[in-house]
């Protein structure tokens, strides 16, 4: 006969309970204890229901109100049905009816939980964004600067800095022309730009205002307006403190995971860190759109042709049709969805006022001539 591990509640037992093997027989279920004691519930008085912490534990009661047998071993109910036949059929049907009722309640609860989740999905992100922005505003800009300093060692690893006045002066002059269009607290930052010798077509800004332009970008650009467009875009990441927002957002994700899972140690901690890293490697769609539109406005206010930015995006998509290009770290790979962005920029440009343009003291042609290996 099949045996199912379980237990017995009975007031006569020390501590009121003991482990037992449940054995369904033709007329009754027996609970056999290690001590040799046997408790019996006959099918004529048997009532069964599922319960316990998991809801899957089967409880058996009979005529004696203080005696309860229990087991979570799978197959016990089926074994009782098979062993008892018609004698146990009533009790088995009762347990199954209760189980069906519990399932119905579970289904309803899951429905409610799902509805709550859907509602949260639509309400939490906007609230979260407001909270992130609020938190970043509370942090002084000196935090951005510190963060930028921490990241600047990574920058040094990309290649040697070009100190030639024709090259460095060209990039610096663009920044100096863009600077007056920025708010005073951003103008007060050390908006230093370095041109780094590299074949990569890339430019980036660190939180706090340090910028880098890789010389590959100067070689590929068709004019100063293209370079100015990219640099204006990067300056807008600094101005809107996108790096900080990113970190605060990632910290928020970790906090949310902590609330959901109860604890962010262990695997969840690792997952949260992974999410944070992924979040830090590229900015969000909203942040890029903000940098594009405000950047093109900044470029126009400085007298550059605002069409330079979308023209450069278009040129880049021709050079590297996919991010499988050898320069995986290129501006293109950190700035995808260029078609969408070109369209948004071109729609915005007619509404912009371009300031009067004065000739640059340092020209792109001179800078390129000074670059090696052209």
């Amino acid at each position: 006969m099949a045996q199912f591990p379980g237990g017995v509640f009975d007031d006569g037992l020390p501590d009121g309970r003991a482990a037992a093997s449940l054995v369904p027989g033709p007329e009754a279920v027996e609970a056999r204890l290690d001590s040799g004691a046997v408790f019996v519930i006959g099918y004529d008085s048997l009532r069964m229901e599922f319960g316990g912490a998991t809801g899957r534990m089967l409880f058996l009661r009979g005529a004696e109100p203080r005696l309860t047998l229990f087991s979570e071993a799978p197959g016990l109910l089926e074994a009782i049905a098979a062993a008892g036949g018609p004698a146990s059929a009533g009790a088995v049907a009762g347990a199954r009816a209760g189980q069906a009722q519990t399932r119905k309640t579970h289904l309803r609860n899951w429905g409610i939980a799902l509805a709550v989740l859907v509602a949260l999905w639509f309400t939490v992100p906007p609230i979260f964004r407001v909270m992130v922005d609020g938190a970043v505003q509370q942090l002084p800009l000196s935090v951005d600067v510190k963060l930028g300093e921490l990241a600047s060692s990574e920058m040094a690893g990309l290649g040697p800095a070009i100190t030639d006045e024709a090259v460095a002066g060209f990039a610096t002059e663009i920044v100096e022309r863009l600077r007056p269009g920025l708010p005073p607290e951003i103008q007060a930052l050390d908006l230093k730009v370095t041109v780094i010798e590299s074949t990569q077509v890339n430019a980036f800004a660190l939180p706090g205002g340090r910028m880098a332009v890789l010389s590959g970008l100067l070689k590929k650009a068709d004019g100063v307006d293209m370079v100015a467009g990219v640099m204006a875009h990067e300056l807008m990441h600094v101005r809107h403190r996108h790096g900080m927002r990113h970190i605060v957002r990632a910290a928020g994700v970790i906090t949310a995971l902590t609330v959901l899972a109860g604890d962010a140690t262990g695997l969840l901690g690792i997952a949260a860190e992974g999410a944070a890293l992924a979040a830090l490697t590229s900015y969000s769609r909203e942040m890029e759109a903000e940098a594009d539109l405000d950047g093109v406005r900044l470029a126009a206010a400085a007298g550059f042709d605002p069409a330079g930015m979308p023209a450069f995006f278009r040129k880049l998509s021709e050079i590297a049709p996919d991010s499988q290009a050898p320069e995986a770290l290129s501006w293109m790979s950190s700035h995808p969805r260029h078609d969408e962005r070109i369209a948004a920029l071109e729609a915005a440009i007619p509404g912009l006022v371009r300031a009067e343009s004065t000739p640059m003291k340092h020209t792109l042609e001179a800078a390129r001539a000074a670059l090696k290996g052209d």
């Binding site: 591990p5 379980g6 237990g7 017995v8 509640f9 501590d15 009121g16 309970r17 003991a18 482990a19 037992a20 319960g51 316990g52 912490a53 998991t54 809801g55 534990m57 409880f59 309860t68 229990f70 087991s71 979570e72 609860n109 899951w110 409610i112 939980a113 959901l260 899972a261 109860g262 604890d263 140690t265 262990g266 695997l267 969840l268």
Partner: protein
């Protein structure tokens, strides 16, 4: 069930220390960083226990991936353990037909023959504020868990309510659901007012037969109480 391990818990209940005296050939599995002292005869090995799947389950239960295994291959020895939180340690002997549900973070150590799994609690866990996962100890053998404050056992026979923040462990013969305080149900206005102002919102409603262990303090409440006294930097 009587204990298989020779142990004692001293300095109870605020700063207790668990001492386990392993006989030759015995093993003990403990939460990392819980060890305070150890006899030189014993061996300690850090590592995954019960395979990767089980370990991942433990992680989601808020327990660390690594379990330290203490063994006595060459002869007897003693180990002392201290939990991270200020609170009592409790011993439970598994093997009376059921298992024990444990709040995440409550696990301290267990002997041979005990299994530990993470059990997804779904919405119940979410609303209890205790995380969606609890640990479930099964098999037979010795289990040690710790709470914050003193640990008080309550024998439930029928029904019982416990504030969700104070539930430390319970026998799995008990069914439970997270609900609002029973008196608050009719009259939604009063219910919401009590929920938000009274702070007595959610309780675990236990039913059936079995034992519940309640911790007499709650970390969250303590942090809330101490918060106004924290040192703050003057802004100028």
């Amino acid at each position: 069930m009587t204990a298989q391990l020779d142990f004692s818990i001293d300095h109870r209940p605020d700063f207790p220390l668990l001492q386990v005296r392993l006989g030759a050939g015995q093993s003990l599995f403990a939460e990392p960083a819980a060890m305070v002292t150890m006899s030189p005869a014993l061996h300690m090995r850090a590592g995954l226990k019960g395979g990767l799947g089980k370990s991942l389950g433990r992680m989601f239960g808020g327990e660390s991936l690594i379990v330290n295994t203490f063994s006595a291959p060459n002869g007897a020895g003693a180990i002392d353990f201290a939990p991270a939180a200020l609170g009592d340690i409790h011993h439970y002997a598994l093997g009376n037909g059921g298992g024990l549900m444990l709040q995440r973070g409550a696990f301290l150590a267990h002997g041979e023959g005990v299994t530990l799994d993470a059990k997804w609690q779904g919405a119940r866990g979410f609303f209890s504020g205790n995380g969606m996962v609890m640990l479930r100890a099964g098999g037979s053998g010795d289990l040690f868990f710790n709470g914050y404050g003193a640990v008080m056992p309550i024998d439930v026979d029928g029904g019982y309510y416990v504030d969700t923040g104070y539930v430390l462990a319970f026998e799995d013969t008990l069914s439970y659901r997270v609900t609002t305080m029973p008196g608050l149900r009719p009259g939604t206005g009063q219910k919401l007012k009590t929920f938000f102002l009274g702070g007595e919102g959610l309780v675990c409603q236990f039913s059936g037969r079995g034992r519940v262990w309640v911790q007499t303090r709650q970390i969250g409440s303590f942090l809330g109480w101490i918060y106004p006294f924290r040192p703050v930097k003057q802004r100028n």
